[in-house]
Symmetry: C2
């Protein structure tokens, strides 16, 4: 598992038909990132056998209830389970107040640190040796951000037989993986002789809740996987505009223009019991579309 | 359905084994009352096909997360579903602040009134023509209340054949049901001739979270159904004391002393996967004990 996205909740504000409010786990090189945390997210993690303790970073798109009402419950469980690891929460202004009002009675139980990182503009919000995460503004009824997870360039793959053939030592292997030629007493072993190219770094963009925004095209352009809300079928395009949401067709058109490899649509209105028509409609514009079915894992 | 209790969530603070945080619906003469509202309560109502809109009164025992983290989600759904009926919430001081911090972005959506009733002492907190609801203090780490639902005396049952035999008119029927004799030109038809006795009024007491309290015995004495927390098996009696919770044996002893008809134990610690040993242990003291299994309906 190098890079995958698992859907925990895919419905819009009103839970229905056993679909839950928004949450998903992005896993990259064995690190796990939670995006949004609707009511019941910790129970969804139980259902799908996701170890809650693995989550160290939580990204909140905006402060509407269906994206955050599970957060204080999750934090409380961490406290009761005597979590030790720090927890980082990235969210728009206002998140501290929400956590404080709920958890003031629990602070004595805290066995771990919570670090709040307020998102207020476009740009890098987190990075480590293997990924960077960027926030970008969406357009909803309140301040709202999308997130782009960009894998960093991977090391080249060393060809196993060449290690023995050239008696490469540890430092030489590291240099070869980093793309360098190996120099020995004037002799040069070209890097291309020792390694295969690494696969291209992958990227994932997450966009909910929002109207369809052309302004995000440069950011989501060519991503391997795009999650974009499609709260409504296209016949409800006016309702989508009024409520600052997107339709199937609009999401698919963005995916097409951005030339993404695959689109997942989600954040379904409770008015739709059967989701198949949303999928069919989106695919008329962009065939590589999938539904955000809860529990499903999308490998990049 | 005259008087029943349906369990929606029966676990203590950490959800586990598909058991959820505390919530239950008490239904009396077709009115529905929600007690506590842990995270996911609105989804539990979906699961058990309970119409959310029927709830007009919500009683919150205390402000720990596992009893309230579902409240703002439920209120939000009411707003989005364009609820019209007033909603009454009875809870200890602090509830308004919690609702306000979450729902300030939703107030424009409100199509209904929320009335907050702060509970601060023992006594009647609600009544209508068929029941009265009393709060009484429990002893937990924070301010916490139990609730007693007391059915009012029922009207006598008129004997159908007597209506014709005596040509009783509407007003006479009402008087007979109220226990009066019927007077006609000096003739007296004694009430006992016209009616059967109504069944005795029923009562339900709800006690969580708390240490085992002898002081509540006068209130819970002889109730038809007692829900009492039993977070732990009795071997964890010290842990129960430290965390201000009750053991199986303690709950059963209270039920026995109060001479209740039936005891339901609940609020199970996440340390217990199998609940059967808790039931067996409680029944060694009070045989009429049942487990609060989610979805189960207890008829009084």
């Amino acid at each position: 598992m190098n890079f995958q996205v698992q859907i925990l909740g895919s419905n819009a504000a009103i839970p229905a038909y056993d679909r839950h409010p928004t949450a998903q786990v992005v896993s990259i090189h064995n690190k796990h990132y939670l995006i949004d945390c609707g009511e019941g997210t910790q129970m969804r993690m139980n259902t799908f056998h996701i170890k809650k303790s693995k989550i160290e970073h939580i990204f909140i798109s905006h402060l509407h209830g269906d994206h955050i009402f599970g957060l204080v419950g999750l934090i409380t469980s961490y406290a009761l389970l005597k979590r030790k690891k720090d927890l980082h929460i990235y969210a728009p202004m206002g998140i501290q107040e929400i956590i404080d009002v709920h958890l003031k009675d629990y602070t004595s139980l805290y066995t771990f640190q919570i670090h709040i990182h307020i998102i207020s503009e476009v740009g890098l919000i987190y990075e480590n040796h293997s990924i960077s995460i960027e926030a970008f503004p969406l357009e909803h009824r309140i301040e709202c951000y999308g997130f782009k997870f960009q894998e960093k360039p991977l090391q080249k793959n060393i060809i196993a037989e060449k290690i023995e053939a050239y008696s490469l030592d540890f430092k030489e292997i590291v240099r070869a993986k980093n793309g360098e030629d190996i120099q020995r007493d004037g002799e040069i072993i070209p890097n291309s002789e020792l390694t295969h190219e690494a696969r291209a770094p992958k990227s994932y963009a997450y966009c909910t809740d929002t109207i369809a925004l052309e302004s995000i095209l440069p950011i989501i352009s060519n991503v391997d996987l795009l999650y974009h809300e499609a709260t409504f079928m296209h016949d409800a395009v006016e309702r989508a505009a009024i409520t600052y949401h997107t339709t199937t067709i609009q999401a698919a058109e963005l995916a097409k223009k951005a030339q993404v490899k695959k689109l997942i649509i989600g954040h379904f209105s409770a008015k739709y019991k059967d989701l198949e028509p949303l999928l069919v409609e989106a695919r008329t514009v962009f065939s590589e579309t999938e539904l955000a079915i809860e529990g499903e894992v999308f490998e990049l």
